[in-house]
Amino acid sequence: MTEETTVPLKIVVLVKHVPDVQFDRHIDSASLRLDRSESVLSELDEYAVEAAVALVESQGGFAAGHEVIAATMGGKSASNSVKKALQMGASSGLHLNDDALAGSDTVATSKALAALIEHVGDVDLVVTGMSSTDAETSVVPAQLAERLNFAQLTNALAVEFDGASRELTVRRDHADRTLSLTAALPAVLSVTDQANEPRYPNFKAIMAAKKKSITEVDLAGIGLEAETVGASGSRSVVLNATARPAREAGTVINDSGQAGIALVDFLAEQKLI
């Protein structure tokens, strides 16, 4: 990061409101949808917010005119995740709120998000986490790159931005090697939990976030027909979902000097050696 860019950057960071992994998560057996009460900002999106805000800070900060728009799609409560991103330093919020989005698979989700980003207009960089912690597909960032015709820099272990050339360089694991990849903006960047250490919003940041705006739009507002997203716009359908029986605790023994032998006896009993 040698020189700062003189042209302000418009960054959209995508945040997802997901069921908290610390609680038991349920798929409803009738609707086959995930129970979304007790939801929070996906932990992995915190790394995305941090990457976007840190990038702006390395380029003269928000005073230089850069923008970090925290955007989400989903029902009413999803705006809580946008609020959290504002507390972490994003400059404004955007919420695509429409009931017709429910039940979208990745193909439909990426369609809605691409339309939202096009609606924002002149976006230089889209930043996301490596995966949502609910569906865990990790494919929406790549699908956005495909739809927007942006460079795909995904699963970044480390990120560097050169303001003078306006090029991003990331490190990423690929088969039996680690690659350094460079591309010019516009780009879609997804970051892993190796990329940074997300900041913890302090009191001042929480107060400052209250003054930031969250714009709400619906599908009509971004020019999408309801049938092209949600269940009708999806290309896959879930037929059934069953909870696997929870694993039960087996025998617990205390080591009184012979537990290593007991371990091997157990392996022999289970025919594992």
Binding site: D105, V139, E146, A151, R235, L239, A249, A259, G260
Partner: protein, 314 residues
């Protein structure tokens, strides 16, 4: 009856276990084509001919651009094979190209599959393996990413006649991503973590010394894994990390040593067939899912177990 396409980005060596599992899965379909986006050495072709694959399409590419060639090769292979289902590995790279093409061709993509039936119903894991779901495509080509260790590798043995053809690809239309540096990862003689029958994993409790974990893994011919606390501390490479942001394993046997069993860690190992946990703390959450729990010091238990295995095998 539907036809299948299997796609590998690389095949510079003999097919890996996960790749052979994909070839086995493909043989359930009416016709099976394999497309590879790199050169395929003769010995690898010999292994492939042991599976019910009718055709091998080869598209060697350039190596200084990222993703373009794989996307073009897969697009060309889908067109050439006219396959109904495309089977790829579950790693990030293959997931991403499959998902991009699903968008490009208005098809479907389903990840984390553990099975695909002959009528294209996909069985998959949800919520880190706590649910099993079935899903199918409603439109267009179905792209499926299949988890390793889900399908039993079963070559058909009858040395089939394998038709090998070059695959022509169109030039890439995607924004350029340059590979500006490449670092090879240290090679290991141990089995690959995602494919191993046995995994021995260490956490913060190893306190900097993976020696006892590696020793027991070697006695069991297994792979070595780790918790994020251990990889973050730099005691072992990040590649060994098991969990939500590391690799997912489901071996026959998983031995957890000095790992508390946080939810993000369990996410990567709870589908293991048998779990043994060694932890000093009787309240460690890992004991809730262990078939055998040992409350004790891993520095004593692991070496004793390794020695006992070697003694019995001698």
């Amino acid at each position: 009856m539907p036809s299948a396409l299997v796609f590998f980005n690389e095949l510079s060596d003999a097919p890996s276990k996960a790749q052979r599992e994909l070839l086995t899965l493909a043989s359930r379909f009416d016709r099976a084509t394999l497309a590879v986006a790199s050169e395929v050495p003769q010995f690898a072709q010999d292994v492939i001919s042991g599976y019910a694959v009718d055709k091998l399409l080869i598209a060697p590419g350039n190596s200084d651009a990222f993703i373009d060639h794989a996307l073009s090769a897969l697009a060309a292979a889908v067109k050439r094979s006219e396959a109904d289902v495309v089977l790829v590995a579950n790693d990030n790279f293959h997931r991403e190209i499959a998902a991009r093409l699903a968008v490009r061709l208005d098809g479907a993509v389903i990840t984390d599959a553990i099975d695909v039936s002959a009528d294209l119903v996909v069985t998959k894991d949800e919520l880190a393996g706590s649910y099993s779901a079935q899903a199918k495509a409603t439109n267009g080509t179905l792209f499926v990413t299949v988890k390793p260790n889900s399908i039993e590798d079963a070559p058909q043995a009858q040395g089939q006649q394998l038709e090998v053809q070059p695959l022509d690809c169109e030039a890439a239309a995607t924004p350029a991503i340059r590979i500006v540096a490449t670092e090879a990862k240290a090679a290991s003689d141990r089995p690959k973590l995602t494919e191993a029958r046995v995994v021995v994993a260490g956490g913060r409790g190893v306190n900097g010394d993976f020696g006892p974990v590696e020793d027991l893994a070697d006695a069991l011919a297994g792979a070595v894994g780790a918790s994020r606390a251990a990889t973050d501390a730099g005691w072992i490479s990040h590649d060994a990390q098991i969990g939500q942001t590391g690799v997912t394993v489901s071996p026959q046997l998983f031995i957890s040593a000095g790992i508390s069993g946080a939810i993000q860690q369990k996410a990567g190992m709870q589908t293991s067939k048998c779990i043994i946990a060694i932890n000093k703390d009787v309240d460690a959450p890992v004991f809730e899912i262990a078939d055998l729990g040992i409350v004790g010091d891993l520095a004593k238990v692991l070496p004793q177990a390794a020695e006992e295995i070697r003694r019995r095998q001698a």
